[in-house]
Amino acid sequence: MNSWIDAVLVLITLTSLVLLGASRLGTSIRMVALQGVLLSPLPLLLAGPSGFGPRAAMLAVATVLIKGLGFPWLMARAVRGGSQRREMDPRVGYNASLLAGVLLMVVAFLLSSRLPLPPGEGTPLVLPVALFNILAGMFVIASRRQAITQVLGYLVMENGIYVFGVGIASHQPLLVELGILLDVFAAVFVMGIVIFHMGRELDHTDTDRLTLLNDWQKEKE
């Protein structure tokens, strides 16, 4: 059982690393979708024999539907909506992002070695993978210009929190997990629609240029 959990966690880490190094929006979205699908067996695998039941199964199904299908569909729609450049020009280059990913991995593993787990909870890999995903997501948000990639970074960060929640606090009620999922869904739904319309109206979703949107500047011109 443990080796399956570890395999899933390693694959989740790899998808985050690919996202850090990917230049195309399509690849990035596909990676986040894959990550969502990879997350879904975790509630079942980590619940243990006692928690294995309809609740964990429900959470797994909800994860596939929302993170594996819903979010990627929203993002893909937002990309198609505007004539955005397929290639992004990030503040930090792709190779440098990968190297930063390595640094974040080091930080995550060091940090998790300082944080003792409650005995019998998850596997030793849960904590570093969760921390790495949170850090990698934050890095993507900070280093990319396009709004859509920033949303993807937000999703990766949320996936890290999800891994943390499912792995460390598997006893928390299903309602809490589903509530978080619903919150994220609402947030991404709104962001997806906003980006879709931004792309249609402005032909770009470069967040650096959003300051040009105010009326004051128009008057000055």
Partner: protein, 301 residues
């Protein structure tokens, strides 16, 4: 005794590997392709020829192929094959192994620079750049394997590789396998990194360095390249196949079969992929390094 069988196999069977790759590529392209033993015929033909040396070259140019081949033969004595220890094994010999690969590369680059051709200089520069990126991936990957198996020599790491090793450390070993496969492709100048068939000097980096070599010198270089492919391949196969669990004869046969399968995989990769843009190659090698590092971290956990 059986350690020498692996060395013997390396020295005899190494030129077969490019032949298998070429046959696989021909099959994918719908051609019949050259005979499997074509590399042997080429070597025999080249050895019968005389060498031509440019007047601008010095002894460095002549020393390059000889020193390179010598280093590769020592390297093949270090690489374990078929689940038994190599003839030569000591603690930390994987660093020596990486050094031998570096020596081969260094003398080839010196010989290339010695010709004074700008193309060959360019090839040498690229070889140095990509090798510098491939080496961390290689060493970090082997460190992860050393940590998991407890062996400090290549023989200790790969000679003890059994099903128990794999079931205890599936994720790190699988990651190292992928990483070393990328290193294998890069070091042997195969397709996602370099196209061995191209004859456009601007795009290639390994073949362009040996353009001025001819006759026996070229034979030595091609034989050394085949040996390099064999030893690096035997490391990949040694990690991927836990042959220790098998009896000696079967382990040997399984390893040879593994080498041939590896060549078929390389042939399939070459048939399905295009060469990467030069600017994308560092990213690929960096990715391999990240995989090795991840394997090391997971192994430490």
């Amino acid at each position: 005794m059986s350690g020498y069988a692996g060395l013997f196999a390396a020295l005899v069977l190494a030129p077969l590997l490019p032949g298998v790759i070429n046959r696989t590529k021909s099959f994918f392209a719908g051609r019949r392709g050259p005979p499997l033993l074509q590399p042997y015929f080429d070597l025999a033909k080249l050895l019968r020829k005389g060498a031509v040396y440019s007047t601008t070259t010095t002894w460095l140019f002549r020393a390059g192929p000889v020193v390179g081949l010598a280093a590769m033969i020592v390297a093949s004595a270090l690489a374990p094959f078929g689940g038994v220890s190599a003839p030569l094994a000591f603690a930390g010999d994987f660093l020596f192994f990486a050094g031998l690969l570096g020596v081969t590369r260094f003398v080839t680059m010196l010989a290339a620079l010695d010709t004074g051709s700008s193309f060959e200089g360019m090839g040498a520069s690229r070889e140095a750049q990509f090798a510098a990126l491939a080496e961390p991936a290689f060493l970090l990957g082997l460190t992860a394997v050393a940590w998991k198996t407890g062996g400090l020599s290549l023989s200790g790491m790969l000679g003890t590789n059994s099903f128990a090793t794999w079931s205890g450390a599936t994720a790190p070993l699988a990651l190292v396998c992928v990483s070393l496969l990328v290193v294998f492709l890069a070091e042997n100048a195969r397709i996602p990194v370099d196209d061995p068939n191209t004859h456009l000097e601007l795009t290639m980096f390994h073949e362009v360095m040996v353009l001025d070599h001819g006759g026996p010198d070229l034979a030595l270089i091609q034989y050394a390249a085949a040996l390099k492919m064999w030893v690096l391949g035997s490391l990949v196969v040694g990690i991927a196949l836990p042959v220790r669990s098998l009896a000696h004869g079967w382990a040997f046969a399984a390893s040879v079969a593994g080498m041939l399968v590896l060549c078929v995989i390389v042939g399939v990769v070459e048939s399905c992929l295009a060469r990467l843009r030069l600017t994308r190659v560092p990213q690929l090698l960096l990715g391999a390094g990240v995989l090795s590092l991840l394997a090391l971290f997971i192994g430490l956990k």
